[in-house]
Amino acid sequence: MAVSRKTLSINEMRFNPAFRFSSERDPGLLTASIRESGILSPLLLLEDAAGSFDLFAGFSRYRIAADLGIEETPVRIVAHGEDSGRAFYEALLEHLCLRSLNLMEKVRVLGIMEMLGVHGRLRALFLELLQIPDQRPVLESFQSLAASPASLHAFIELYQPPLKMVEPLLEWNPAGLDLLMQIADSFQLRPVETLEIARLAWEAAGRDGETVASCLEGTGIREWILPGDPVPRIRKIQLLKQKLHLKRHPRLSEWNAELEGLKESSMPPPGTEILWDRTLEKPGLEIRSLLGKRTDLLRLSEWLDSERARRALGDMFSVAG
């Protein structure tokens, strides 16, 4: 690998956050070591066509050196090309000894690999290191993730969901995603709640051929995400789910409303419930009654014999039976 080694002033290096992968380790020990012995392991720099140097690996050492007022540090310099890819691989390997990368960091690594023109065997090594299967759908998901709005990136950074979990969001347009993220933020949704809302909105939008954003807008959500809205968050989540469900299942909602009306009209005695599968897939009605006293049994049998109950239950059965 054609790498030049020398010392360089830290003022000549550019701190490019795109290349930074935080190690999250306690800098105390490293600071003490550098204060006592200076920087022993050279910083890795990437030289661009104009002769400028981007810091490539060794961000903690760079920061500590700057804080301690060290002006010159040993460096290894690589130029763009196969060598820079190899050097990046080694830096990443070293980093991965300290901690694994999260999803967005993997997206960044893939972006850097592309920028450095990594291909062939080295690319395969990178993918193995990142534990990313070399499969087109997976790589396309990473590409979509890279192109997705910053609000989604922030969501992922915050909750660290796995790729599988966020994949459904990658097909959303930016407006829809931004609105979803606003809702998640305003309602303090956990990832699983966010993704459930996402799924409901996506299905409801698909049904009407709307975009997800306009579907969500159609629920009147803008008014609920205003700061200071007094409705409790649990209630807001329930209402939003109901509205999306209604959009997704208009007929089912209608049939269930009809069943509710018939149930009311049958006037079951206290302690008696009429239940049915809300998807109507499991046919039939379930009548559940708490018989605490002998009179409860009498009341139940009188009700079942009544014309009102028979008619209502018959009508209910023709929908749910």
């Binding site: 070399d134 499969q135 087109r136 994949e167 459904p168 097909e171 299905e203 698909g206 049904r207 009407d208 051929g209 997704r248 299942h249 208009p250 007929r251 089912l252 049939w255 998807t279 109507l280 897939e281 499991k282 046919p283 929908v319 039976g321």
Partner: protein, 385 residues
């Protein structure tokens, strides 16, 4: 058989979509491999180890996969009971011959998009292994009529101009009296069929209204051509079957399905139809994402759906019942005794639409046998009735 050089119009040969053939180096000497290569004409052929083929497949898009035919062989015999679905839905006891995986046609609703690992069209050339397994199953069930089909994980005739496999199957099954082979297709390339004689072959076409076929069944021949091809096979003496599956809900579906049923019975003698199946759209939930990604303009996901008791997405039961009732009543108007069954349906739907439901999958299988014996007599091999 001559293969159409390039797709041109709806009657084009689906096999003309194939742009490259990969051959697993282990199957080079199989007779079916040699036949395909003989029929391949100018299509480029590459020999690969199965490992290399797997690696190449990983990089193929679904579109590229549908243009690549991979000749290989099963690790096992590849003859299994139809995976069907779970209780309480009823399944018919069909036996699936997994000779082919994927298909050159590209239907938006195709379950194979999410079911098979390979984007390529796989053709398992180890016919003798499959024959052995079928012989074994037939011998183990001497008192039953076993229904087998090659059209579950692929289309039975789509690549017939390359494989000529229809003849292999028809000839093989003609020697097994307690079996039926169903060759299920959307293709109209039936040139290999008329000269063959078999009493226990059923040629089956899946049908949907033209509006659906043109929008949701890419590279599949137009529906009138399918019915016409079925008519030619009927004239050649074959028994037929039709699959209204998936029945789809879309604006104006009622009239379109009624027209389709009328059009079918206008051309086809009901007395030659061994069975008709009905099934509304259903699929595992993960297929939704695949369909949306691959076919953003498809409308099949627009309709209201629920997650069924087997976990599959379906229209709500009252909707399905109404759809089946419309189609089944129209079929009954044309024929009172053609055998009608539902694919993966709830007994309550059977009851509502047909007035009774089999008590179990085995009973449904016995209904098939009874109907076939009553309507066609013996299904023994030895020429057409």
């Amino acid at each position: 058989m001559k293969r159409t050089a390039a797709a041109s119009g709806p009657a084009a040969d689906p096999a003309s979509a194939i742009r490259s053939i990969w051959v697993d180096e282990k199957v080079l000497d199989y007779p079916l491999t040699r036949r395909v290569l003989r029929n391949a004409g100018p299509i480029p052929v590459e020999m690969l180890s199965s490992g290399a083929a797997q690696a190449r497949m990983a990089g193929l898009s679904p579109q590229e996969g549908k243009r690549t035919l991979f000749l290989t062989r099963h690790a096992g015999a590849g003859v299994k009971s139809c995976p069907g679905t779970s209780d309480p839905y009823l399944c018919c006891g069909y036996r699936v011959i997994n000779q082919m995986g994927q298909c050159p046609m590209d239907c938006t609703y195709c379950i194979m998009q999410g079911y098979l690992d390979s984007p390529c069209i796989l053709l398992n050339v180890n016919l003798e292994d499959m024959f052995g397994e079928i012989r074994r199953q037939a011998a183990e069930n001497p008192d039953r009529i076993l229904r087998f089909g090659t059209g579950e994980t692929g289309d039975s005739l789509a690549l017939d101009s390359l494989t000529e496999a229809s003849a292999d199957w028809i000839e093989f099954f003609s020697g097994l009296p307690n079996t039926i082979i169903e060759l299920k297709t959307k293709s109209v390339r039936i040139e290999n069929l008329p000269g063959l004689k078999s009493k226990n072959t059923v040629l089956a076409w899946s049908l949907n209204p033209g509006e659906i076929a043109s929008h949701e069944e890419r590279r599949a021949p137009a529906v009138p051509q399918r019915i016409e091809a079925a008519g030619r096979c009927m004239e050649a003496g074959y028994k037929l079957a039709f699959h209204f599956d998936p029945i789809l809900s879309f604006p104006g579906w009622q009239d379109r399905y009624l027209d389709l049923v009328d059009g079918l019975f206008h051309k086809i003698d009901a007395g030659r139809i061994a069975w008709i199946s009905l099934g509304t759209l259903r699929f595992p939930p993960h297929l939704q994402g695949i369909i949306r990604r691959r076919f953003p303009k498809s409308r099949i996901l627009d309709e209201e759906m629920i997650r069924g008791l087997d976990g599959k997405m379906r229209y709500p039961r009252p909707m399905r019942t109404a759809m089946y009732r419309l189609v089944a009543d129209r079929i009954r108007l044309h024929s009172r005794d053609v055998f009608l069954y539902f694919c993966m349906e709830h007994p309550a739907v059977w009851e509502s639409v047909l007035g009774s439901a089999p008590a179990s999958n085995d009973e449904l299988d016995s209904w098939f046998t009874r109907s076939l014996s009553e309507r066609f007599g013996s299904f023994d091999a030895g020429g057409h009735p």
